[in-house]
Structure formats: C-alpha cells, structure tokens
Amino acid sequence: MRDLRYDGLAKLVLEHSVALEPGQVLRIEADAVAAPLVVPLHREAIKRGAHAYAALGLSGLNELLVAHGSEEQLSFVSPIALREVGSIDAAITIWSETNTRSFSRADTDRRQRQLASLRQAAIRRRDRIVRGELRWCGTLCPTNAHAQDADMSLEDYEDFVFRACHVLDDDPVGHWRRIGEQLQARAAELGGVRELRIVGEDTDLTVGVEGRTWRPAYGRQNVPDGEVYTSPVESAVNGTIRFGFPAVFMGREIDDVRLRFEDGRVVEAEATDGEAYLQSLLQLDEGASGVGELAFGLNYEIDRFTRNILFDEKIGGTMHLALGMGFEDLGGQNRSALHLDLICDLRREGEVSADGELIWRDGRFLQEQQPARPVEHVR
C-alpha cells in the first residue's frame, strides 16, 4: 500500500529544500533500501519538469571494497564521478542503511582511506554549493536498521521521522518557512552576543561567540531540521561540560563524555565507555581538541535520542558542541579531519545566559522569537 507520508516528504524536500525548477538535473543518492522514498522523490521531480535520476548504492559493496580492495582500488577516484558533480543542479542524499554497523569490524585505516577517496568529489561539490551553483539536501528514509538503533519498531520509527519532518502538517512547507523566520530572528539576536555561559548537571562552560555568525537551519540542507549554530571563538572556551547522550562516530559509541576546556582546548577528557577511542579521536590532528561548532537543538518533535546525528543534534532542548572542523563561512577558524558532535541535554536543570542575562531555561528560550524580518525564500 502506498504510504502518502513518503510522497509528502518528497514534495517538501523538492519544494522547500532544493526548490527544484523545470529543466534542472537532480541526482538522488541513496542505498537501494531507500526505494520507498526514492520512487516518490523521482516521480515528484519529474512532475516538476526536472531531469531526475537515482544513483543507488547497494549494501555490502563498499564493505567488499574495504575488505578486499588493493591500495590502488581503495584510493581510486572515478573520473566519471568527478565529472558528474559538475553536471547536476541539485542533489538529494537519502541517508538510509540496512545495517549501521557493517563497518564495525573493518580495518579502520582501510575504511578511512576508502572514505578519503570520496573527498575530492565532496570538496568539488561543496564548492559548487557555496557558489550557489548546486542545491543540496540530506534526508532519511526509515529502515529497520535505523529503527533498531533508536530502539523502536519500524512503524514507530516512521511515525517519529515523519513527525520530526512535519510532513503530517497541513502545510509542511509553510511550517518550515515559519521556523525559518523564527530561527533567522534568533540567529540575529545571538549575533549580538559576546559570550554564552551554559550551566547544567556537571556542566559550567563559557563560550565566546563575539564576531561570529549564527546560522538558522530550517529544512534547506537537512530534513528534518531545527537548529541555530555557529563556530565559537577558538581560544574562548573554558570550563567543564558533560554530554548526556552517547557520542557516535563512524558507527562507534562513546558514553557519558565529560570534557574540561582551557582557552579553547580540551585539557581533560573522560568517558565511561569508549574513552580510549575518544582519546584517539582527540589526537587525530591539531584541531581535533578544539571546538568547531556550538548549536541549539530546537526541533521539539525530536524528543529522544535515536543514535542518528541528523536527528540527535536537533533534539528540542539540547545544545551540541562539535570538536574539530569549524565552519569557515561563519567565521570558524578551526581545521580538522574530525567533526565530532557531542550533545548536551539541557531539558532539565539547564540554563544558558548571554553576557550575563539568562536567555534559556530547561530546554527553552525564555522569549519566543518573533520574526525580525521576512526570510528570503528564493535562491
């Protein structure tokens, strides 16, 4: 039976996220398991007059490459894939897996090299996105693997995903536009802040954000979405923070991470589980023990941890901080091969003040934000 929620998600992404126009070339990238979303996305894109096609992966193939490929095969960059980046106007990535742990036992070094082989195309793509030549959005199609990670049945997980995306709303596009207006105003307000102080359980952290740009995320590059983020001043992070949710990186979990910062650098790092892995990540390179991102998670339909960063970093009432790579376009200067998102639950006993003034308590901003000015919707 056709589930119209998938059609709804497809329409939302095409209309709001990538604003697909007639004659544009759209590449839909997904594992074959995402068929329930790929088919309606393609159909709706065709109906909009676009040239749409799917580039599908199949679970198990990259695993074979990492397990059996020669050095040359592991690092091979397809010239066709590189040229393809230049021939498309829009791309939609559907993160859907049949098994989120299929690389758990793979040789980490070989897996890293295989991932590195994709970097050239990724950089070329990012440059086109930044120049406004390519629209991109990442979303998810519910699968049993993701449901399993979230400790849910597939049916419950589908409900969760579609609620988080506001696909069931009367006017999903209208919802995300309103969110955009609110977050835009919030970002403008945070743009005037010099320093934030976060206080919670085992947490008292000050973060300098003066001169940095806050960006509202309202369903353009991620669906679901709902966060405001920036790259903090690299030398101005001090104090301690405890992350209530496990950190997941490359399919491996680190539990109950506690960090102490001095002048922007991690000087103490503990975890109840996976501490050695955490330490190895911190030593990955110079920038790995610095901060690249600070953000407020503001999607209140996402009310639980599901072991998927697309959702977890947007949990309404949380903040997250990423170690490693910062956002250059927001003023961030930290550079690293790492971008490890760590999520801090502030829904109970959480307070955030801005330049001494309390702005957030127990997972909510104290003042509901009214739009300061209308958001530009067209590209």
């Binding site: 004659g23 070339v25 590449r27 074959a32 068929a35 790929v38 088919v39 393609h42 159909r43 065709i46 109906k47 007059g49 676009a50 040239h51 096609y53 799917a54 580039a55 599908l56 992966g57 199949l58 198990g60 193939l61 074979l64 490459l65 059996h68 490929g69 020669s70 040359e72 095969q73 091979f76 397809s78 010239p79 066709i80 040229r83 393809e84 021939s87 498309i88």
Partner: protein, 370 residues
C-alpha cells in the same frame, strides 16, 4: 541459503566473458533484485584488479518518467550515463526484472520517443564495442517475474538459467570454449554462402549475406549464449516470414507476427494480437522497417520459449531476425532506435537453403561442425 552457482556465474562472467583486467573500469548494471550476483561480480572484479562501478536501477523510475514526463524530459539523455559509455572498459548488464509487464499501459508513442533518446548512446556503445574499446556482457539473474513469464517456479527457472549457461558443468569455461569451436564452424560455413532461403509454415524468405561477417556468439557478449549472427544486405530481404513465438518488446507481446518484405523493407505486417503496437514500432524511424540482424539459435540447453529474448533467440533449432539497428561488426549498415528480435521455430517441417543447396532441416544443420 546461498546458491554456489551464483558465485560460479560471476566468476565465468568476469573472467571468460568480460576478461576484466587490472585497471579496467567496469559498470555493473542491474536492478536491486540482482543484489546477490551484483555482490559476487563486485568481488570478482576487485579480484581481477578492476574498478567496479555499480549502476543500480530501481523499477518504478522509468514508469515515473514515461507516465509524467514532458517530451523534453523523455528526450533527455543523462550526461553522466553518456560519460559511462565514453569512458568505461567493460559493461556488465544483468536483467533482473521485478515485473516484466510494468510498462504495459504506457503510451507506445511516448515509449518510442524515449527509446529514440537512448539511440545515440546505444549506437556509441556498439561503435566502441565494434572498435574493441569496450567489452560488454548481457546476462540475467533469476527472479520470480522472469520465472512467471517462463511459466516456471523460481527454483525451476534457476535450474533452467544456470543449465543454459553450463554452470552445472564442473568446468563451464571449457564447455563454452568447446561450444565456441562449433559455433565458429557454423560461422565459417555460412560465410562461404551468398544467399539464404528459409522455408517453413507461412515462411518463404530470401536474404543476401554476401560480404557480411557471420559472428559466432560464444558467451562473451551474451551469457548464456549460442547463436551465429550477421547483418544481411539491407535491400536484399524478400518474401514472407511467420514468427512462431510471441514477439516481446518493452513488456508487450505481439502474437503470430507475419511480415512481408520487398527490397529489404517491411511492406506488410500483421499480428493476431498487438498489431497496432507492431506497426507503431515499425514506424518508429527509417531503419525500423529494415532487417538489422539474421541469426541461427544453436543452444540445445535452451529448449523452450521463456518470453525473454536473451534466451529465446538462442533456442537450439530456431532462427531470428531483428528489425532495426544492426551490429556494426557484422558489416550491417542499418541504424534505428529499434532492435526487435523476432523468433521463428524451425524444429519441424522447415528447411534452409544456402545458394540453392539444402543445408539445414528441422532445426539442425546437415553438417555436424563439431
């Protein structure tokens, strides 16, 4: 349970059929239903030192386009797939349908329009193949849909498919080489002839093959295989032919096709079912009413009709003729967006004459060729 024949098939395809070498770019093209053999092929291509590039299709997308696309969308050729055709060293395409009749309700004129958009790509890949720059293999992976078309259970169909590919044999490659020698003998014999005449129920057809190349098809471009084919002289086809088996094209079946040729062109086309579709296809373009291929099916392990051209055209004791584009390596000059194989069973009351001499009767060449 995994079927060891899948692994063996992948081994034969990557080694014997495609001859994948270190550094080769190899596209693996199929539907999601072929996942088990795609994984084996991927592994074998890695072992051979090649770079496997999966190109996985999802049923439902072509329906989307054919149902909702504008003319401009139907005409569009994906530059990335064009790049594949220009760049890769090997294409391995695996038929693995989920529903062979899914395009049945698509407007044939829209279908034909879309097919024309792919013509340039196909001609380019045939050109690169004929020049030896690109090797390709068309094969099939057993699915319920294909089994249903063949009126078999999936298990029976698997036995049929792997049997036709000699994969039950302890040394399938040796069998294919041996069979190849016989096919080469048939090709050599036919190459010495100028004109063929096929006589059977409802059929009396003449065609000239002089100056054209007969190609023994020994499992390197189709797998399984077993035919000897050429592209006849375009203006030489004269007479009438009645095709015993339903002709299947783009999910549609046309039954009891009868064609009459004059100077190489179809001048009359009738069918008991699907006649309109037949006529629309023939009217697709200039080349669609001419013959691009004439061939003998010689694989005795394909004894019956399964509604799949890959197998049907190899049925031992049949001939087939394709309307539309010719394979350049035969010397055939006809070009079209169409290549429609029509199969005629010659296993009873049938004769083929070469330059007036009886050379084939009731499905067998009189000469043994082994």
């Amino acid at each position: 349970m995994s079927d060891s024949r899948v692994e063996r098939m992948a081994d034969v395809i990557v080694g014997y059929c495609a001859g994948v070498r270190a550094g080769d770019l190899v596209t693996l093209e199929s539907s999601t239903l072929a996942a088990p053999i795609l994984r084996e092929l991927y592994r074998k291509v890695l072992e051979a030192g090649g770079h496997p590039l999966p190109r996985i299709a999802l049923e439902g997308l072509s329906e989307n386009l054919l149902e909702h696309g504008s003319d401009e969308q139907l005409d569009w050729v994906n530059p990335a797939r064009e790049d594949d055709i220009e760049t890769v060293d090997v294409r391995i395409a695996i038929e693995a349908p989920g529903n062979t009749k899914r395009l049945s309700n698509i407007d044939p004129t829209r279908q034909a329009r879309h097919d024309r958009s792919a013509e340039r790509l196909r001609n380019r890949y045939l050109e690169r193949a004929a020049a030896g720059e690109l090797r390709w293999v068309l094969t099939a992976y057993p699915t319920e849909a294909a089994a249903q078309d063949a009126s078999m259970s999936l298990a029976e169909y698997e036995d049929f498919l792997y049997g036709a590919a000699f994969l039950d044999d302890p040394d399938p490659v040796a069998r294919w080489r041996e069979f190849g020698v016989r096919l080469a003998g048939v090709a050599e014999f036919l190459a010495s002839k100028r004109e063929l005449r096929v006589v059977a129920d409802g059929t009396d057809l003449r065609l000239v093959t002089e100056g054209r190349t007969w190609i023994p098809s020994n499992g390197q471009e189709n797998f399984p295989d077993g035919e000897v084919f050429t592209g006849p002289v375009e203006t030489s086809v004269e007479g009438e032919i009645r095709f015993t088996y339903p002709a299947v094209f783009n999910s549609r079946e046309v039954e009891d096709v009868r064609l009459r040729f004059e100077a190489g062109e179809v001048v009359e086309a009738t069918a008991t079912r699907g006649q309109e579709f037949l006529r629309e296809m023939i009217a697709m373009d200039e080349g669609a009413r001419r013959v691009g291929e004439f061939a003998f099916g010689l694989n005795e392990a394909v004894p019956f009709f399964t509604q799949n051209t890959l197998f049907d055209e190899k049925i031992g004791g049949t001939i087939h003729l394709a309307l539309g584009t010719a394979y350049p390596e035969t010397g055939g000059l006809n070009r079209s967006a169409l290549h429609w194989d029509l199969i005629c069973d010659l296993r009873s009351s049938s004769e083929v004459y070469a330059d007036g001499e009886l050379v084939y009767r009731d499905g067998q060449f009189l000469n043994d060729f082994s």
